[in-house]
């Protein structure tokens, strides 16, 4: 079974079928995906700007991060619970869509980087300012690549 076969199987599932045959479902889920994007972006930006020393400088970096984290995770769950159905409705189109592959692979890297690298180092309280700034910069680049490539799926 090739990867394309798997994508075809996934597209045939009832959930994708339901979205394709509905007039409103795709736009509606897409709009929730955008609301999730705003919250996801906000929670990423406020932490990364703090790491870069560009906001909330009077507050410890770990405090800024830990306060944003529940909403970052909430936003991530919103993105997955809307993004997966959207993808299932057009798996074959996505298979041939370069932007989608960029988005998905960068997303994997961004999630791993955020939880396993950025958040761990930040909450250890012993990183230098340069290290923290670099973490913030890499995180911003990764997440904005995910978002930009995501928007570009519709254009390519």
């Amino acid at each position: 079974m090739t990867l394309l076969d798997i994508f075809e199987r996934l597209e045939e599932m009832w959930i994708g079928e339901a979205i394709r045959t509905s007039y409103w479902l795709f736009p509606f889920i897409e709009a929730i995906h955008l609301v999730g994007l705003a919250l996801l972006g906000g929670t990423v930006i406020v932490v990364d700007l703090r790491l870069l020393g560009l906001t909330l400088r009077s507050r410890p970096v770990a405090q800024v991060l830990l306060n944003a984290r529940p909403y970052f995770i909430l936003a991530l769950l919103t993105m997955f619970s809307t993004g997966i159905p959207l993808a299932l409705s057009e798996m074959i189109k996505l298979y041939y869509n370069f932007s989608w592959w960029v988005k998905i692979s960068t997303l994997g890297v961004a999630i791993l980087f955020t939880f396993l690298v950025r958040d761990r180092i930040v909450t250890r309280h012993d990183a230098s300012r340069v290290t923290l700034g670099a973490l913030g910069l890499v995180s911003l680049v990764l997440w904005f690549t995910v978002a930009g490539a995501g928007r570009w799926i519709g254009f390519s």
Binding site: A68, Y71, F144
Partner: protein
């Protein structure tokens, strides 16, 4: 008195057509518009969550506002500049869009809410600046802010869909709300 003449006038601009038909510029501006949502609504959500008493409860509201809102303003400016350009590229259809009309009303309401907070509710901020959970009036403006901007995102996304366009058969209420010109509808 309708503002249709203004949309018609923009539509005569060669740059409007060029932007609409450009291969990269239009998608680039639209992507910027969408990505700036993170900076605008995303950072505003952080401030609203603080005002609701849901996040940064040990940080004074004034600290969050003064430190985060400048970034919100940067996001807002990007939204306005790219949004105006997107309207400029497709003026007549957007002018008649039911979704765009709801969106503009919601933005006006959100602006009124923000002004009301800034000039009225925040006057006695010293009393609740450090409160983990601020008074009801403060939480209400924050909730209204989140609600209105979520509706703006929703309606903004829906502009792309042509369900209520004037060049399709529409029920009377859509023709009224969209301000469709009947002669044009008949000829299409």
């Amino acid at each position: 008195m309708s503002l249709r003449w203004f949309a018609d006038w923009l539509d005569t601009h060669a740059w409007s057509t060029a932007l609409h038909e450009s291969f990269y510029m239009y998608p680039f501006i639209e992507t910027t518009h969408v990505l700036a949502l993170t900076l605008f609504v995303g950072t505003l959500a952080i401030v609203d969550l603080r005002m609701l008493g849901y996040a940064y409860r040990t940080t004074p509201i004034s600290t969050i506002s003064q430190s985060v809102l400048p970034w919100t303003v940067v996001g807002f400016v990007i939204m306005i500049v790219t949004g105006v350009l997107l309207f400029y590229a497709i003026p007549v259809r957007t002018y008649h869009s039911v979704w765009f009309r709801i969106k503009v009303i919601m933005i006006v309401l959100a602006a009124i809410n923000a002004v009301h907070y800034h000039y009225r509710i925040s006057k006695n901020r010293v009393l609740w600046d450090h409160a983990p959970k601020p008074p009801r009036s403060v939480r209400l403006t924050a909730a209204a802010s989140i609600f209105l901007w979520v509706v703006v995102i929703f309606t903004g996304r829906m502009i792309a869909y042509n369900w209520f366009d004037c060049d399709r058969p529409q029920p009377d209420w859509v023709i009224t709300v969209a301000g469709c010109v009947i002669d044009e509808v008949a000829t299409l």
